[in-house]
Amino acid sequence: MDKILVVQPAKCTGCRTCELICSFTHTGEFNPEISRISVLTYEKVGFSVPMVCQQCGVAACMEVCPVGAIAKNNVTGAMEVQDSKCIGCKMCTIACPFGAIHYHAVNNIVSKCDLCGGDPACVKLCPSGAISYVEANAGSISKRKAFAAKFKNVFEEVS
């Protein structure tokens, strides 16, 4: 069964190591701007949450892509963008209800989390263990569902 990324905002300190390692792993450059994971921090309340693609079962990005440049990796379950096939219509970035795929002018590609091919760098480098990569078993899935249920209105609004 696929493994999934699980984020625990309560553990996140907002250090942004994940952003740096993500951009470095994918581009060889330390540039949080082009990271596929982004940490949003609410200074006043001291709360940070890493936001990253959840690899939807029915993925809007993949459905909308006119040229099939986004495909599911059957081993990891990640929706992956094949840059050489992308024609740059940016439709996927508009379609994703969660804002998890972006176009970057710096490298002229659309990018999203690809689970690093099954060994996510953010998970390995996060110093506080706020991101984990776990088997998608009944337990982790129901946790995720419970989490999603709390944001039912959000998801209904957007999905």
Binding site: Y42, V49, M51, C89, M91, I94, C96, G99
Partner: protein, 246 residues
Amino acid sequence: MKIRIDQQEIDVNPGETILEAARQNGINIPTLCYHEAFGGQGMCRMCMVEVKTAHSTNLVASCTYPINEVIEVHTSTPVIEKARRTIIALLYRTAPQSEFMKKLYQEYKCVENQLEINENERCILCRLCVRACEEIGSSAISAILRGTEKRISTPFDEASTVCIGCAACANICPTGAIELSQTPAGRTIWNRTFAVVTCQRCGQAFATREQLDYIAQHTGIKGSESKLCDDCRKKNLAAQIEQYAQ
């Protein structure tokens, strides 16, 4: 089936093109009108290679040549290099305003030719834009007129009724030939100005109405009705998580 490309023996599936077989095996053949999203078009001839069969030796466009028999391929010979230089020199004459062609012209150490120069042109008629638009399903542009007047445009240069303003054409164009302007007033491309949908949170224009319709049609996801740009959709969700966590 086994064939040889530049002395390297490689395994191919019958019907595969020479270009695909070469690239899969790390052999680079230069191309201009080929794109992985749609395959070869055989327009530019930049991908020309020499093919030896049991009976003959020919120069062929590798992006459209299907491998159906045992062949020997050479991707770089003096004849091929000369042909490529000629192609680039001619295209640079037709599109002297293109930085992309200028670079290639210098890289390939091309020599002057007598072709009439097309002062303000950037387009090399590779048709990648036409193919991209076809994939979107709009087919708003094509090659119009003939001979030296041939160029890419909408029928009769009129504002297209089928264009959705996605600008994939401008993005895929290797030479930057397609004019696109985006102002708060709208996005203008191919003689049409589209009203843009602006993000309710940050005010940035992020799509045309037509793009949102396209997304709704293709995904059935109401989210494309969202009035937020991709960044703000993420921020919005994060803000809700923060609210909940408190």
